[in-house]
Structure formats: C-alpha cells, structure tokens
Subunit: 359 residues, 2 copies
C-alpha cells in the first residue's frame, strides 16, 4: 500500500504519551467523539440512512470521523465504526433498531453454530472498514494520529450469544457453565478474527489500536482471566507492533476493571483505559507505572456547568499527577445529550491545566 | 409490643455468623428468595393483583416471605418488601408497570421539591410494612431469624430523581455536579427516614437489617464517600443495635463495591454483602476480618447443571476459607428464570460442603 498518503505527524502527543515518552501537555480525545451529541454527525447519519449504512460507507465514515476535529483541538482521531462489524461479517445478521440497540438475528447457541463460522477476510467482508481507515488517514493529512479498534472477544461474544444487548448475560453465562468448550471455540474464533482485522487496520494506516472490553466487568475474577483477558492477551501477542518506522501502541479497556488493571498491564499492552470508578492515582499504583493510563472523567460530568467541568478536569489531572503517561479521556463514551460546548470546555481545560504536570 | 409472639430461635446460625461467632456450618439464604422464580410466589402475586398490592398486604407479604422456607432449609427469612416503600410513603407516586420496572410519577428535581417532603411515620404511611414484620415474626415461630431491610439513600435517591430505573444516572449526577445542596438535602431526608423506618422494623421484630446500595458502584470513589457511604454511615450510627437481649447485626451491600469494601467495613456495620466480581479471599483481605462477609455466587450460576452449581459453591466456600464469619448467598438477587430445584442444589451443597471450614 502506498504511503504517499501518509504525511509525517504534526501532533504526536497522543502516541508519545501512550509510550510514556516526554510530552509538554496531556493529550486528549473522547470515546465516541464522533457521535450523536454532534448535530453535524446526526445530519450525516440522516444522509446515510442508518447507523449501519453510515458504518459501511467509507466516505461518510471518514466525514464523521473528522467532524469533532473540526470543532475541537483533539489529539487523536478514532475510526468511526462499531464493535459488531465482526459478527456482521460472520453473517450473524446484525440490525440496529432505533432506540433499541443492536440485534443479532442468528445468535450462536451451540458448537455446531460456531463450527460453521470462519475468520472473515478483512479485504472482502470487512473491506468497508479498511477502506475507511485508508481514506481517513489520507484526509487527516498528518494532523493527529488515527486510532483503530475492535471489541474484545468476550464483549463481542456477549452480543453474538445473547442476540443483542443484555443486562444479566444469562445465555452466555449458561454456556460458560454448561458448555465451556462451545464458548471457548467462539471466543477463539473471535480472537483470530480480531487479530487479522486489527492488523489490516494497522496496515491501512491505524497508528494505535484499542480493544474495548465493555462487559469484562460482569465476570468473576477467575472467569475474567479465563474468558476475557486470555483472549485479549492472544490478540496483543498477534498484533503488528510497528508500522511506518514507529511503534503502534495497543490500549486495552475493560469497563469496571477495578483491581484487574494490574493483570491487564501484564499482557504486553502499552496503555490501559480506566473508567471513572477507579481513581487514576490508584490505577497508577496498581500498574506500577508499567503502562500509560487513559481516562477517566465521569461522562455525566459533561452535563455540569463549564466551570464545574473545569474543576473536575483539574481533579482527574491531579489524580494522575506528575508524569507523561496520561492520555485524558472520559471514563466511557460521551453521552448523546451532552451539549457540544461542554465537551469543548473539557478539552480547553485539559489544554490549560495539564502543562504543570509535565515540567 | 408483646414478645409473646417471639419464641426463642431454634436456628441462630445466621445471626452468629454475622457476628463472627462459632458456627458448625455456613448459614445460607438468597437475595430475592421470595420471588418470581417460585410458582407459589407467582400465584400469590396474582391473587394480590400487583406487585405493589402484594407489598402492601401484610398477610400476603407474610405468605410469600415464608414460601422459600417451606421448600428449602434456609437459615434466614427476609421481609418481602421493596426498597421504594419510602419514596412511595413520601408521596412521589410509585408505580410498577409490568416488564418496565418502577416509575416515580413526581420525581424530585429541585430544592423546593425536597423541602416539601417530610420523614414518613412508619406507623401510619408505612404501617403495612411494620405489620408485615410483626406477622412474619409470629409465623416464623422462631425457626430462623427475620431480616429487615431498606435501600441506601443514594440508591433510593436515583429512583426519586431519575423517575425510575436508569442506565446512565444523568439526572441525579447533573444535580450532584450543579446543585449538590439539593442532592444532599434529599439524601439527608432519605437517611433520616431510613433510620426511623429500620428502627421500627427492629422494634416490630426484625433480628438483623440489611441496607441495599444497588447503585453505589456507579459513583467515582470520591462521590461514593460523599454521596453514598456518608449516608449509610449516618444510618448505621442511628440504628437500634440491640433488641430482645441480642445484638441486631447490620449488613451493608454496595453492588460493584470492589476495594470500597475496606471503607464500608469502617462504618461500624457487622457484615458486608459482596457481589460476585470480588473474590471473598480478596474481600476478606480488604476488611482484615473486622466484619463478616455475605455472598457471593454469580446469580447466573444457577442456570448451570446441579453438579456444576455444586462445584461453584465449593469454590465460593474455599475462597472464604476457614473461619466463622461467612454467610453464603448469591452475589445479587436470584433471577426470575432460575429453576427452583437449582436453588435447592445450591443450598444442599452449602449444607454438605461447608462444615469442613468450621472445624
């Protein structure tokens, strides 16, 4: 693939912080920064016809990926896509019904259901994602790095087995208890698919990758090690870690990880996402400064008045304290009803208040 | 109040374990043990007409409280009621719509909304609960102790402010950030109401009380201390701790507490409920054996085959290890779709496997 479309980065703060290299302020981006809270996003989604059509259209996916960068001085772009592209490519029948969340028409319930599935080819079934990565990378013109991503096998597996969102995860947990071999076969297939998928994103120009383990926190500690962390470890081991002469950092994020951050740091990843329920000071203690940390403002804080947002940004920065291995972010995705100017207040506060931690 | 209806306990394992006194096996009960998974419960609820009518009818509440004791060798009964009785008594307009969860018709959104509320009198607005406690206590005939309960102010407050169940808790968190004085006024009113309410349950015959903080885990550590733990501490400080010549143990339960268990143990409570995401060995380490622990089988485990349930019961018992301060329970309420014989398999396994930890 041509690298003519890949000019040198003018802002590499994000990549440097992920590798705990010296930076003069804390870089900042937001999970779901291209999303429903932005009127320009809603307009593009309207044009696309649906969320899934927007994901599958590289030009429009590129357009919404770049929208928040036009509004805010962000230090990274993240591919606009969804963690359910792999089940979609596996032919499980993905639908997004408005206000209902994702639905999987043909959920996986038996070993026979798993064995008829094969690792999707990123250059055919998932070509729309890889094309979007290439296009976004070209359109970014080296302004900031581009993050690629995927869901963790456990998290993607919950949708594949439950048939959609879940509160209690009863179907996948029943499978775990009664047919662990079936669950392991599914998670291994998802892990193999994710390695190929993320490596294709990296080859197409993703400069860092993040693995979202949204539901790892619903497992017992032993189940977490066996059914979530194990497969994330497998992915970390299989990823291309250098491209264009530069390390490609890997970020793992388990929502509700708590003290599991210590185990996660041992996978060989470069950074961990931290939700708002763990103080960054405690998270830093748990990982003994072996990896960078990304987070962790309570997403609900963005409903507060701008001066309160600034105070809370100050608390998060102080909680991490002195040092270069911090990427500022929310502790989870930005909520759809947040006023865009409040996101701007958060980002401005990080620019203003963080240099004191990098002296 | 007459104590003629309060014969001596023939099984006090539960109370002894909560006080870390010697027991010869681990006592066991289940959160939501009187509930939808039992056909006899569904029949009584049908007879009552609705969930709320069942809660408000002392005779029928007594009937469903006793149903699981007729099926299983449980070591405690828990009052059949709901954590939203206080908002109901406050006149906020509680409704339970089938399949929808609770709705609060007149949610609290301002300081004016709070200041017009007063502490409910447990002997008038909440008389149906206190009458149920007296009646259940009489009908138990000293077989096992009766647990009274209430929601934590923070948890009850989420329903009062959000107007029902929530996933993101945006309204109460916006209030926390922008109008903390309003939220504090509401939580103090709920805390005052809860002290009076639980003390009335104790006077009517409750032999232990539990405070359910279902949603404390969605707060940052600092918010948890200020907006949830602080008010539970206030309640613990205000409770009657002895009745009928015996200590009345207090159990605190924050779902998703993680390492906050250490702080909770310092409130002066007797025991902590632990959900399934923290190993009991780790929980015991966090609280340095200063309080008893109650938990923590993954509720989804009861979908597994009985022999798998037995294995997982063995793991939970081994995780607590040697010692008397363990009450076996699920890590959260039993799910409505669990086959009743699976609950029986769990209870039988505790009876069979726990004596070895009490030698």
């Amino acid at each position: 693939m041509s690298t003519a479309n890949r000019p040198a980065l003018t802002n590499d703060l994000f990549l440097r912080a992920l590798l705990r290299q010296k930076v003069d302020r804390t870089p900042v981006w937001m999970m779901r920064q291209a999303g429903r809270y932005l009127p320009e996003y809603r307009a593009t989604r309207e044009k696309a016809g649906s969320f899934l059509k927007l994901c599958m259209n590289p030009e429009l996916a590129c357009e919404v990926t770049l929208q928040p960068l036009a509004r805010y001085p962000l230090d990274a772009a993240i591919l606009f896509s969804d963690i359910l592209t792999i089940p979609h490519a596996l032919g499980l029948g993905l639908q997004f019904e408005t206000g209902e969340g994702p639905k999987i028409e043909r959920p996986v319930r038996s070993l026979a259901d798993v064995t008829k599935l094969g690792v999707p080819d990123p250059h055919t079934e998932l070509k729309y994602v890889i094309d979007a990565v290439s296009l976004i990378r070209r359109e970014l013109k080296g302004r900031v790095p581009l993050i690629g991503f995927a869901g963790s096998p456990w998290t993607v597996g919950t949708y594949a087995v439950e048939g959609g969102s879940s509160r209690e995860f009863s179907k996948i947990k029943t499978m775990m208890y009664n047919e662990p071999a079936t669950l392991r076969a599914l998670l291994q297939l998802l892990a193999d698919s994710t390695v190929v998928y993320l490596n294709a994103q990296i080859a197409a120009g993703a400069q860092a990758v993040m693995i979202f383990d949204t539901w790892g926190g619903v497992l017992t500690p032993a189940q977490y090690r066996e059914f979530s962390l194990h497969y994330m470890q497998y992915i970390v081991d299989g990823l291309t870690r250098e491209a264009e002469g530069r390390r490609v950092p890997v970020i793992l994020f388990t929502k509700g990880a708590g003290d599991r951050l210590a185990l996660m740091a041992q996978t060989g990843c470069d950074a961990l996402g931290v939700d708002w329920t763990t103080d960054l000071a405690e998270a830093r203690r748990l990982v003994s400064d072996t990896v960078a940390l990304q987070g962790n403002l309570d997403p609900n804080c963005l409903y507060a008045a701008p001066e309160r947002i600034r105070e809370e940004v100050a608390r998060v920065l102080a909680s991490y304290g002195q040092g270069h291995g911090h990427v500022f972010n929310l502790g989870h995705g930005i909520h759809p009803a947040v006023p865009p100017e409040h996101a701007g207040a958060m980002i401005a506060a990080v620019h203003e208040l963080s240099p004191q931690y990098h002296v």
